[in-house]
């Protein structure tokens, strides 16, 4: 008995071994340099990781502590953002202002591939480090990389910080005299791309070798530095040797540790946390999809409507609003709240319906409704669907059994008479944070937004939201309004007053009307306290065809600034603001949404905001935006113009149950009064998201 038990165990073990055919070790990604981004130690290389690779880095090297995040957005583009802590300098000379906090600096880098490596030719890239104007490490480089077996050889030409040694003549200087000297000062009020400085001044050749040791986790690096560190921000750094060395230990797919020895006198160490934005996923404990019974029910006489709705909710994540059964078809209206992937969602919905309905119901019409407006109808051919889920053919595919179309739900024999009016309420949590403040490096505020509303009919409602702070260190602010005074209206820079006045504030209170005017045309109008800082009236019209790569919206608002010392009072400042917006998913950039808005901003400046968002396979979206207006950089102040970055992460990636929600982590280097839009209480393009899903 014992023996046979053992034999079973052995055979089970063997079976699992046999099933594990085609073993593939994970391919190593290129390692990060000290400043973040693929490279050697101080010097960048031409290498790019696979698209979607993300790395969060911490590097410590005596004078500098570097925090950076780097992402490969496209096969040909890498972007890096960085905070630098200069340990030899204070944030400011005034201890009342910033205590003993050390100097902090922000930086942005980008690298573009010009040529991809082949048998005889190298990878070639051009890159820009700290190109945001006041950067401590501002430089440009062109680099080439060629691998031969376990060795990866790199050579580069650096300008600016990377080329400060000046070991060769700037080749552009031979072509044009203006390239011989690098302009010293930055343009505007910092924060601008100083392209007039690019590739100017002293230049250095640099190079290096990476050696992949036979022991897979260990990589060794040797580089020849193009920098002489004489004019370093941290003070002149003594360079005993032009060579730097490092060892990178890959602990796992997620973690790298590195140790380096620089300038012949300084040790440094770092850690890199790596995630692949394309493949990252979370184990799920979702209910098993319903099995379509071998014999479907005979008719609808004994249809358990309550159970069907419950199954749609619990098994398919579809919150049913209403449904209608008629001539061999069923129409179900509702909202998807669990499954982000529309194919997973539809298969689950189809399975629930097929397990409750007889075969004579030939068509399942699933209508997604958002805020009372039907958005899209998916028609499932029930017969085809059932055949596909039962695998009644070698080639049947579930996705072939349904298609999307404009919703047509005017006169259906609805099962339930729904009242269009009534009260509603809800709550959501919020978390806002800011880095690099003089008081503390990290400042935060978190709490709940309590919402309530009354709907008069499908189109009209009154809504309000109260903001309750639960956790905050914003009371550490040592100033409320910055000292920078010019003639620009303070449309956003009173922010500290608004967020720190009281722990309970009225965020908004407004009347709202919305409707679908005609096919593809949506409209809304609103009036009241619209957002934290503004009250007024406004409206929006959006043209958005189903599954189109382009949508166009127009909004116009007349607003007056709210008094930060009162819940209801208003300041005198008033303005018209509004934009024409184009939401475009270009065919030549995979999973990318470009939003361009032209119009007048809150400070009456006119211009354009461009928002660029890239979605990875996991659903994570990385975005950047900039507002260029007719306000001069002198008027705008530090940063020169409004710009920001964000990462939007599906909650689903952290939870064991599927969910459709998202969290957005913004990173706004400096935000001032130019290029500021009104935060409308509702955005029609977001409302109609399912008509052409980008945030899936």
């Amino acid at each position: 008995m014992k023996k046979s038990y053992l034999a079973t165990l052995v055979s089970l073990y063997c079976a699992s071994v046999a099933a594990e055919q085609g073993f593939e070790p994970s391919t190593k990604s290129y390692s990060q340099m000290n400043h973040g981004g693929v490279g050697l130690i101080q010097m960048p290389t031409a290498r790019h990781n696979e698209p979607g690779k993300f790395s969060l880095n911490y590097q410590d090297s005596q004078e500098y502590r570097l925090w950076s995040a780097s992402v490969q957005l496209f096969p040909w583009m890498e972007a890096t953002v960085r905070y630098t802590d200069v340990r030899t300098r204070l944030y400011s000379d005034d201890p009342d202002f910033s205590g003993d906090q050390t100097y902090k600096d922000k930086g942005i880098d980008a690298k573009f591939r010009l040529w991809q490596e082949s048998e005889f030719l190298p990878d070639v890239s051009v890159g820009f480090r700290d190109f945001g104007g006041t950067g401590l490490f501002e430089s440009e480089y062109i680099a080439a990389s060629k691998r031969i077996g376990p060795f990866d050889f790199h050579i580069g030409l650096g300008w600016g910080y990377l080329g400060s040694k000046g070991n060769i003549t700037n080749p552009f200087c031979d072509l044009k005299d203006s390239f011989c000297v690098r302009p010293g000062e930055f343009s505007g009020s910092g924060g601008k791309v100083d392209y007039q400085k690019f590739f100017k001044g002293t230049a250095s050749l640099y190079g290096g070798i990476e050696y992949q040791t036979p022991w897979d986790p260990l990589l060794l690096k040797l580089e020849y530095d193009g920098n002489n560190y004489v004019n370093d921000f941290a003070g002149t750094l003594v360079q005993d040797s032009a060579y730097n060395i490092a060892a990178v230990y890959t602990y796992s797919d997620a973690l790298d540790f590195n140790l380096n020895y620089m300038r012949g006198n300084t040790f440094g160490f770092g850690v890199n946390y790596k995630v692949d934005f394309n493949s990252v996923k979370q184990l799920k404990l979702d209910p098993t999809p319903k099995v379509v019974p071998a014999v479907q029910v005979a008719n609808t006489d004994n249809l358990d409507r309550t159970q069907m709705n419950r199954d749609l909710y619990l098994n398919a994540g579809f919150m049913v609003i209403n449904y209608a059964l008629k001539d061999n078809e069923i129409v179900v209206t509702g909202r998807q709240i669990s499954y982000r992937d529309e194919h997973v969602a539809l298969e689950r919905i189809g399975r629930v319906l097929a397990s409750h309905l007889p075969a004579e119901v030939k068509k399942y019409r699933i209508v997604e409704v958002e805020a009372g407006l039907p958005q899209v109808e998916t028609v499932i051919d029930a017969e085809k669907f059932v055949k596909a889920v039962r695998k009644e053919s070698l080639t049947a595919v579930v996705t072939d059994s349904y298609s999307r179309k404009e919703p047509e739900v005017s006169n259906e024999p609805w099962a339930v008479e729904l009242s269009e009016s009534g009260f509603g309420y809800g709550a959501e949590i919020f978390w806002s944070q800011t880095f690099g403040n003089p008081e503390r490096f990290y400042m935060y505020q978190g709490g709940v937004l309590l919402g309530a509303g009354y709907q008069f009919n499908n189109n009209f409602s009154v809504q309000t939201t109260a903001k309750v702070n639960l956790l905050t260190n914003y009371d550490d602010f040592n100033f409320k309004v910055d000292a920078f005074n010019n003639n620009v209206p303070r449309v956003r820079t009173y922010i500290r007053e608004y967020v720190s006045r009281s722990d309970v504030t009225m965020e908004n209170l407004y009347g709202h009307w919305k409707d679908e005017l005609a096919d593809n045309w949506y409209a809304q109008a609103y009036g009241g306290y619209l957002e934290t800082m503004y009250a007024g009236v406004g409206g929006e019209v959006l043209y958005k065809p189903l599954d189109s790569s382009l949508a166009i919206g127009v909004d116009l608002n007349y607003v007056r600034q709210r008094d930060y010392d009162s819940e209801v009072a208003l300041f005198d400042y008033k303005t018209m603001t509004g934009h024409v917006s184009f939401y475009w998913e270009p065919f030549f950039l995979k999973d990318t949404l470009i939003t361009t808005s032209l119009g007048q901003y809150l400070a009456k400046d006119k211009g354009v905001t461009v928002d660029f968002a890239k979605r990875f396979d996991s659903g994570i979206v990385v975005g950047a935006y900039a507002a260029i207006t007719d306000m001069s950089s002198e008027e705008y102040g530090e940063g020169s113009f409004t710009k920001g970055f964000y990462v939007s992460i599906p909650f689903d990636l952290f939870s064991l149950k599927s969910a459709t929600g998202r969290g957005r982590i913004p990173w706004i280097p400096i935000s001032r009064d130019g290029g500021q839009m009104l935060n409308r209480p509702m955005n029609l393009n977001d409302l109609t998201e399912v008509r052409s899903p980008f945030l899936r």
Binding site: A19, R390, L394
Partner: protein, 251 residues
């Protein structure tokens, strides 16, 4: 043993009684398995899984539909035509070595037996436990190839030998030392056509080497180096690969 005998008896008796008009007929090791009704895939694979030595990871399943075979044969004829043109191009330009390599591929491709390969899990233990992996087999004629674990790897393309030993605990690049590459062969890439999975590219050059295991029963296709190909023939490797996927592997 008795069971196995009984099973054989049932199968044989089925094929005897239903030979007249079977819905599904599957050829397996010179035996025809006939089914009066569409069988599930598990019925088929469990029925033939009589020996522990059968190596299912390198099993293949083909449709013998005459329209599919006809279309594959047409593709082959077109490809042979193009390869002959390529051969003539090299010959005219005095590239004797490249011409010889192309000629070799033409000679190798001409007798190739083709049938529409259906890539899907076949291992009886995988198939029987998951409905989604256990489809009904559509009416028609099929070929199932499964045997003991192959000890060799088939070779095709710009390489002299026609097969080489399957190496244990090794990667694609390890095979290069055993291959006698012909002139014009790519030194950087190999196409790998597994018996029952989609084809993939293995990077094997000094500059791009990457670990890729070669599954037993796979065919390695050594492509022509891109820089030797005239621009109008740049897609020739892909076209060869598209046909090679449907190569009938001898049981």
């Amino acid at each position: 043993m008795i069971y196995r005998f009984l099973l054989l008896f049932i199968v044989v008796s089925c094929s005897l009684t239903l030979q007249a008009n079977p819905v599904v007929r599957v050829q397996f090791n010179d035996v025809f398995l006939d089914y009066a009704q569409q069988p599930r895939l598990s019925d088929l694979v469990a029925g033939v899984n009589t020996s522990a030595n059968l190596y299912w990871p390198s099993a293949s399943f083909y449709s013998l539909s005459s329209t599919e075979i006809h279309s594959l044969e047409q593709k082959k004829a077109k490809l042979l035509q193009r390869l002959t043109e390529l051969h003539n191009y090299y010959a005219q330009h005095g590239d004797e070595g490249l011409a010889a390599t192309t000629k070799k591929i033409v000679l190798e491709l001409t007798p190739l037996q083709l049938a529409k390969k259906i890539v899907l899990p076949l291992d009886p233990d995988t198939v029987r436990i998951k409905t989604s992996l256990n489809p009904l087999i559509d009416a028609g004629q099929y070929l199932l190839v499964v045997a003991e674990k192959p000890a060799t790897v088939a070779l095709f393309g710009a390489v002299e030998n026609s097969s080489t030993l399957l190496l244990n605990a090794s990667e694609a690049a390890d095979y290069l030392s055993d291959l006698k590459l012909l002139e014009g062969a790519s030194a950087s890439f190999l196409y790998v056509v597994p018996a029952n999975a989609d084809p993939f590219i293995a990077k094997v050059g000094l500059w791009n080497r990457e670990f890729k295991a070669i599954p037993a029963g796979a065919t390695l296709f050594v492509p022509l180096e891109l820089r030797h190909l005239p621009s109008e023939f740049e897609d020739i490797n892909q076209q060869i690969l598209d046909l090679l996927v449907h190569k009938v592997v001898a049981p």
